[in-house]
Structures are given as C-alpha cells and as structure tokens.
C-alpha cells in the first residue's frame, strides 16, 4: 500500500461531494453530499495519522471529532430543513430567497 492511493480516493470522493452540493436542489440531498465530503476528510486524517505514525494518534482522534461534529450538524441541519418545509412547504434550496434583495 502506498500513501497516495488513499489521498487520491479521498480527493475523488470530495470532488463528487462538491458536485452534489452544487447540483442538488433538495436540501436533504445537499446534506447527504456534505456527509460524503466529510467522509473524504476523515479518510485523509486517518491516512496521514497512519503515515506519520503519531504516538498521540491525533489523526484518529480528530477523525472522531469530525464524526461527532458531523452528527451534530446533521441534527441541526435537518431540524432547520423541517422548519423551513413547515413554513414554506418546500425544501428546495433555490426557492429560499428570503435574504435576497
């Protein structure tokens, strides 16, 4: 195994996530694409942690933190999406123009 194969795979997953964030209209699907990008970041963190053979295991610890923050973000994000859907009866991100003038 070489280091670069993990990094290239993570870059590919991150790019697919960027495509999904840009192209999707439904807010839930945008959140799904963000999860894809966070997974790519976690792969990078763990791969670099294994590469430098860190005694403190910082890569894995921060991957755990990213997973935790991602779980919190999904909870809040879906609560906001549910609230917007209740008020506007639509969860499409391109129809939300309340702050646009």
């Amino acid at each position: 195994m070489i280091v670069n194969q993990f990094l290239v795979l993570a870059a590919l997953l991150f790019s697919i996530g960027i495509y999904g964030v840009l192209v999707r209209r439904n807010a839930v699907l945008v959140l799904l694409s963000i999860e894809l990008m966070l997974t790519a970041v976690n792969i990078n963190l763990v791969a670099f942690g294994q590469y430098v053979q860190d005694a403190l295991l910082s890569g894995q610890v921060f991957a755990l933190f990213v997973i935790t923050v991602a779980a919190a973000e999904v909870g809040i994000g879906l609560a906001i999406v549910v609230l917007i859907f209740r008020n506007r009866s639509s969860a499409n991100v391109d129809e939300l123009d309340l702050l646009k003038w």
């Binding site: 195994m1 280091v3 699907l29 549910v82």
Partner: protein, 173 residues
C-alpha cells in the same frame, strides 16, 4: 511504481474493490433520481470508508463510523426525507439543477488539483503497517485530548437542545 507491481500486493486488490464500490455508490448519491436510494447508497460509501479505516489499522474509528453514521445519521436522514416529503418517486419534482456542467467543471478541477498535488508530494511512499488499539486511543483521548473531548461533548449537547427547540411546534399564545 508500475500498476502491475502495485496490484501484485493482495491488500491493493482489496483496496481497489473497496474504492470502486465507494466511487460507484458516491456517484449514485449525487445522481440518483430517488431520494431514498441516494440515502441508502451513502450507506455503501460509508461502509467502504469503514473498511478503509480497518485497512489503515484504525479499528475504533471504523466501528464508530458504522455505529454513528450508518446506525444513526442515515436513520436521521431517512426521517428527514419522510418528514419533508421529498419526492420518492422519480421526476415529480426535479432534484437537480438544469445546468450540471459548471458543477462538473468545478468538481473535476478540484479533483485534478488535489490529485496532482498529492501525487507530486507522495509519489511512491509506502504506507507504514501497524494497528492502533482501541485502548491506546482511549488513553490519549482522556489524557492529552480531554479538553477538546469535553468541548465536542458540549457541542453535541448544544446541537441536541437546538434541534429540539428548532423542530418543535410553537405554542399558540
């Protein structure tokens, strides 16, 4: 390194299978016409990530991904899809924007940049072996990283309260 040399290692064959499954399911997540299918394809991608973590010797992170992501976050997503009544049948409402090519160009540019930079920096450096035990991770998490750990638990608490406050109905007054 030649591809034939690379593929001669059995671990790289496993990696290639996992990578192809992950990329295919990730593409399905961003292109599927069915919202439920997109959420379920994310399960495959995350399971592939967990398998990669096992290959990298990070067993606790792998099982945390299985428990937290596949066990909890995907269920949360399915509830969100159910509540917002996102179109589960095909093409009742468009799920994508009409113009896809600017997004595709941005994604391709990002991938080309990152892949070029990492290939230039880490050409054929081998990945060291070694498994980090869960006990070691627990030791370091509760000694060196105990303050960030507590901060993250506070973030979770704030997200819990915020989710309840946001999602409940306002009382008629």
């Amino acid at each position: 390194m030649e591809f034939t040399d690379w593929i001669a290692d059995a671990r790289n064959v496993v990696f290639l299978v996992i990578a192809v499954a992950m990329i295919g399911s990730a593409v399905m997540v961003v292109t599927s016409r069915n919202v439920i299918h997109a959420a379920l394809m994310l399960v495959v991608a995350l399971a592939g990530a967990a398998a990669l973590f096992l290959m990298l010797g990070a067993e606790f992170v792998a099982w945390t991904v299985v428990l937290v992501y596949i066990g909890a976050v995907i269920v949360l997503f399915l509830f969100g899809i159910m509540i917002t009544r996102a179109p589960t049948k095909t093409d009742s409402v468009r799920l994508d924007h009409k113009r896809r090519w600017p997004a595709a160009i941005v994604a391709l540019g990002t991938f080309a940049t990152m892949a070029t930079v990492t290939t230039m920096a880490f050409e054929d450096i081998p990945m060291p072996d070694g498994v980090s035990r869960t006990g070691d991770l627990g030791d370091v998490l509760f000694s060196r990283f105990v303050i960030p750990f507590e901060v993250v638990s506070f973030v979770l608490l704030a997200a819990l309260i915020g989710g309840i406050v946001l999602a409940r109905k306002d009382q008629e007054s």
